[in-house]
Amino acid sequence: MSGQGREHRSEERARSGAPRGSEQETSSGSATGPAPPGGTGRTTSARETQPERTVLSWQRTGLGVLALAGLLARAAVTDGAPVRLAVAGGVALLGLGVLGGLAPLRAQRVRRALDHGTAVAEARLALAVTAVVVAVAGAALVAVLSPR
């Protein structure tokens, strides 16, 4: 019986996100109790770090677009091509859109889906970020093919 009780408590600890070994310090308080339903901002519905990793992956993709924008801008400046510099600026805006728009939007949507237990898949966001990369590749193709 006591073993069962301990198992139950450790499950509660895992849910509330408290680290192992913290029971002794807070055993008299209610800090290790189960998370309040719906969440109060102190805990999330996530039980592991996959949502966090996913958002970091979105951010890396946005940073990758920004890095390519920097490379295109450098090539445009060294070749003295103002139109290509403007195209590089457009690519930079797309990168900022992924980094500052799609990534936080995705983080919010995943959090909401986990809170409500609904589907996390977002086909439109996947299509949007793919379209960004395709557009960036098109801009790079123009830059590569333009006479220098």
């Binding site: 039980r47 592991e48 996959q50 949502p51 990793r53 996913t54 992956s57 979105w58 890396r60 993709t61 990758g64 677009v65 890095a67 390519l68 490379l71 295109l72 450098r74 090539a75 060294t78 995943v110 889906a113 986990l114 237990g117 589907a119 996390v120 898949a121 086909a123 996947a126 299509l127 970020v129 793919t130 990369v133 395709v134 960036v136 590749a137 098109g138 790079a140 193709l141 830059a143 590569v144 093919l145 220098r148």
Partner: protein
């Protein structure tokens, strides 16, 4: 967390990260193409540099589109709780990059032989 209509939300998130990894692979290939055109404009023969650059950018484009198609197939398999379908995108990408590398090697050889 399995629900009646979905086996595990983590599979969907992992599939999404795989799509983003494909997109970043495509971005790296596109950046490689731009770098070849910018930093090696006179590689081997007259149009050698431009040909390699265009090939790399198109390979990057293909990686992005192929990664998206693969994401869609994986997502359908995950939702139906089936094993993932085999990937034809990966061998195609490897073949394209290998072909570009062979062309680059030939162009570098021409460059070296001319002195």
């Amino acid at each position: 967390m399995p629900t009646p209509d979905h086996p595990d939300y983590r599979f969907t998130l992992a599939n999404e990260r795989t799509l983003l990894a494909w997109l970043r692979t495509g971005l790296a290939l596109v950046a490689g193409g731009v770098a070849v055109a910018e930093f090696a404009p006179d590689l081997g023969v007259r149009w050698g540099s431009a040909a390699v650059a265009v090939a790399l950018v198109l390979t990057g484009l293909g990686a992005a589109v192929g990664g998206y198609v693969r994401w869609g197939r994986n997502e359908r398999a995950i939702t139906a709780d089936r094993p993932l379908p085999p990937s034809r995108v990966l061998p195609a990408l490897v073949a394209a990059v290998a072909a570009v590398l062979v062309v680059v090697a030939v162009l570098v050889g021409v460059e070296v032989l001319r002195g």
